[in-house]
Amino acid sequence: MSDRLLAVDDLTVSFSSDAGRVQVLDHVTFAMSRGEIVGLVGESGSGKTTLARAILGILPANAAHIESGGIRFEGEDLLQADPADIATRVRGRTITFVPQDPFTSFNPVFTIGSQIMELMKWKSPLAPPSSGLSRYARTRRKADRVKVIELLKTVQLPDPEAMLAKYPHEVSGGQRQRLMIAMALMTDPKLIIADEPTTALDVTIQAQILKLLRQLTRERGVSVLFTTHDLGAAHEICDRICVLYAGQEVETAPAGRFFAHPSHPYTRSLLDSLPSREHGIRGIRGEIPALVNPPAGCRFHPRCDRATGECSALRPSETAVGDLHTLRCYHPLSQPEPASAAS
Amino acid sequence: MQTALFLLQRLARDKTALFGALLIVGLILVALLAPILATHPADVAEFHPAERLQGPSATHFLGTDRMGSDIYSRLLFGARITIVIALIAVGTSVLIGVPIGLLAGYYRTWFSDLLMRVSDIFLAVPQIVLAIAIAQTLGPSIENVILALSITYWPFWARLVYAETRSALNNTYVEASIALGASPMRVLFLHVLPNISSSIIVRTTIGMGGTILTAAALGFLGLGPPPPTPEWGRTIAESREFLPDAWWYATAPGVAIFLVVMGFNLLGDGLRDILDPRTRRSRQ
């Protein structure tokens, strides 16, 4: 298991809201290997952003409650460690972040260069790991700057020196996301968490950014956890895909198998909902459940054609149906439809 | 009716806003019941020089003033003046400012531009400074204080309503109803006004507090209603020559102003949190 990088085990997270406690993640189990690009796919409200933020350790402290489970990164349980220690040693160093919206994720009143150099001051690989000092030695600053310029060239940004002197509102959205990717790579991380990195971009730019992200992380052997609601984007860059539905992971499969042999009824309907030449646009019957009072058992059962009594009684356990392909379903598509399903 | 009920329910949960509302209800009750609550109701106009400058006692709860009148009784009747000035001045400003803001925001002709420039000029000077000039010209009386405050206060509402109207007109459903040929009056009163009423309500509540402070300052400067009117600001001004001995003299009206203004401010903050979801998180 030496190539196991990240293991989320039985993670349950809930939020307090006006309407009561909302269980956003329900005993989620999920793992990643070194160098792997994994897509976390789900509709909005499925919990993918919460899972991404839980791994980063930036859930809102006053509203979010981690009720059970653990997050092991390189063998260390991030939830048990000292949060301040994780912030200095892990976040921004071994795990970095590419945000959803490059328009608002830069601080509007500082130049891009000063924000990048601030990151390097605290997080550059040359910086001592537990540095709490605010001094930034001149020699290290110089070396860091060389590396920054180099990376900006690598992400195909024109005239990196001039770019550093600009304010965020002076560069385009695509360029800002390239900057974000460069910043995520600058500190030589093991894992990049990219939270819907292309959703806010023009469709024409999305493909370029995805290609760039895939190419650069492959070259460096960096893992990427990529959340998206866009199956096309997942298809583009992922080695493996994990589907979340209403806070439960339902199916995990290598990208090829995922699209060729989906086994969970929800995965099937998700794929069917892609517009196609034969079927046009097909939606999924019913609505995403309210998480204040979610359906018991498998949360998909009220919308599932194959649901039986046991589906609403107890959530199915994880079963392997192929190489790296796991599933949580009593009635996978590989089996004939259960007789009592119509009831 | 239902929205009013909803508002009350939400207010009841916000303890500080509820406290503010209670202070205002208290002020109104005191003003209404002044003749009953007062121990010396005649002292609004009567003097008893023999009893001047007595400290608080069983007969004079809050002491007596330089004329020997009962400060407690005068304080209660002062609440009436405060309410009348604030209500009429703010009411007039709203009645002038809101239509101007609505029309200027809707039509955007040279005339509406002119109206906005005029209100900008008014806003370019601290309100009390203009109010002093006007009140001084008109002479000290309660009507003139109200007039001075109204003349200098309407631009605040014109500005607010203008900006809100402009942004409300950008709403898709307002655009749609204009496209469907709704008359300007219909659009303004059926769509825009209900949309912006919550910010008008909030500003009016907080504006009441501000107006009470400005009116008291005018009274303090001798520009308010003339003696023997029991106006709070004037009472504080009178007390100055008897300090530090007659410490009670200025205390009661000062506390009264403080509580009343705080009442309006707290209620305004609470209403803002309830009615304006954009700023609701400002107090989370």
Binding site: A87, P108 | A124, F220, R240, P253, L259, V261, Q284
Partner: protein
């Protein structure tokens, strides 16, 4: 270049605003009174005196002509003569500008130095004890009548405790006038006895004025910080593990301060308004005291002159704030 364009744009607005202000003051002084000559002549004037004034000030001319004359005289620095001191009002007022500016500027600096950190702390620890305490403080600061607070401070600190002087700007004459700002003049003169005397006279008026100003600053800073804390860029900075103190005191604060700076104009207005009454309580020889004395003596020209000067100062401050905002906010001021 952007800044120069901004300055030019604001300056083109400056002149019409001043003319508008003059028009308002003119309306108040020449049109609202049924018979301005009677007002100008003061109480108890004879008919002959009134007629003389009517002719002297051209009050028998049509209103546009009167306004044009008024405009010309004000532009040439002639605000009329004080009916009480018989001195030119412009001179009287100019000698008093430094006293008011010294008071308000020191207040604004102190209110900002205390209010900004307190606003940040209130936001960073919202719903903590300190946040609730500060909320009580800001609500009080905006509800208290400054003239009453001034009297309370006098009663407590000057009369009962004897820690500070009761009123005035200095015992005796104060420092030799150079700038008119006593604190600076005392430093120039190098006389530390006078300096401490001047400072001790400043304590109570500054405390009185600073209370509402600070309350406003704390409120705006807190709201601005909360907005920034909930923003995507702070989420990003946290996700990248930047130290919390760097995020709050550098990145959040800079954003919140831009909002606070735009409020300085508003706060200065509160201070000018407050100065009128506070100066009269503390017998502080500034513009406000001059206005109050003019009111007491029915010195009509004095009040109009005060309105003009105060309005001009306020417009100028707002102009500076706009330019400052344009300078510190890279996105440019709206």
């Amino acid at each position: 270049m952007r800044i120069i364009a901004l300055v030019l744009k604001r300056l083109t607005w400056f002149v019409p605003t001043l003319v508008g202000l003059l028009l308002i003051v003119f309306t108040v002084s020449h049109i609202i009174p049924a018979n301005p000559a009677v007002v100008l002549a003061g109480e108890g004037a004879t008919q002959a005196q009134i007629d003389a004034i009517k002719e002297k000030f051209g009050l028998d001319q049509p209103l546009p002509v009167q306004f044009w004359r008024y405009l010309k005289s004000v532009v040439s620095g002639d605000f009329g003569t004080s009916l009480y001191t018989q001195r030119p009002i412009a001179e009287d007022l100019l000698t008093r500008v430094p006293a008011t500016l010294e008071l308000t500027l020191i207040t604004i600096v102190i209110a900002a130095l205390l209010g900004i950190p307190l606003g940040v702390i209130a936001a960073a620890r919202r719903n903590s004890f300190i946040d609730h305490a500060l909320r009580f403080f800001t609500v009080s600061g905006l509800a208290i009548a400054s003239f009453w607070l001034a009297i309370l401070f006098q009663l407590l600190f000057a009369m009962k405790l004897g820690w500070t002087p009761l009123q005035g700007r200095a015992d005796s004459w104060g420092p030799d006038p150079v700038t008119g700002f006593f604190v600076i003049d005392a430093i120039i003169q190098g006389d530390w006895d006078i300096f401490s005397d001047v400072v001790s006279h400043l304590v109570l008026p500054v405390m009185t004025l600073a209370f509402p100003a600070m309350a406003t600053i704390v409120r705006f800073t807190r709201a601005g910080v909360l907005d920034a804390i909930n923003s995507n860029y702070v989420l990003y900075e946290q996700a990248m593990g930047l130290p919390q103190r760097v995020i709050v005191w550098k990145y959040v604060l800079r954003n919140a301060l831009i909002g606070t700076v735009t409020q300085i104009g508003l706060i200065f207005g509160i201070l000018l308004a407050g100065a009128v009454v506070v100066e009269s309580v503390f017998d502080w020889p500034g513009l406000g005291l001059y206005a109050v004395n003019s009111i007491l003596r029915s010195d009509y020209n004095g009040i109009m002159g005060f309105t003009l000067i105060t309005g001009t100062i306020f417009i100028l401050v707002n102009l500076l704030v706009d330019i400052l905002h344009g300078t510190i906010d890279p996105r440019g001021a709206g």
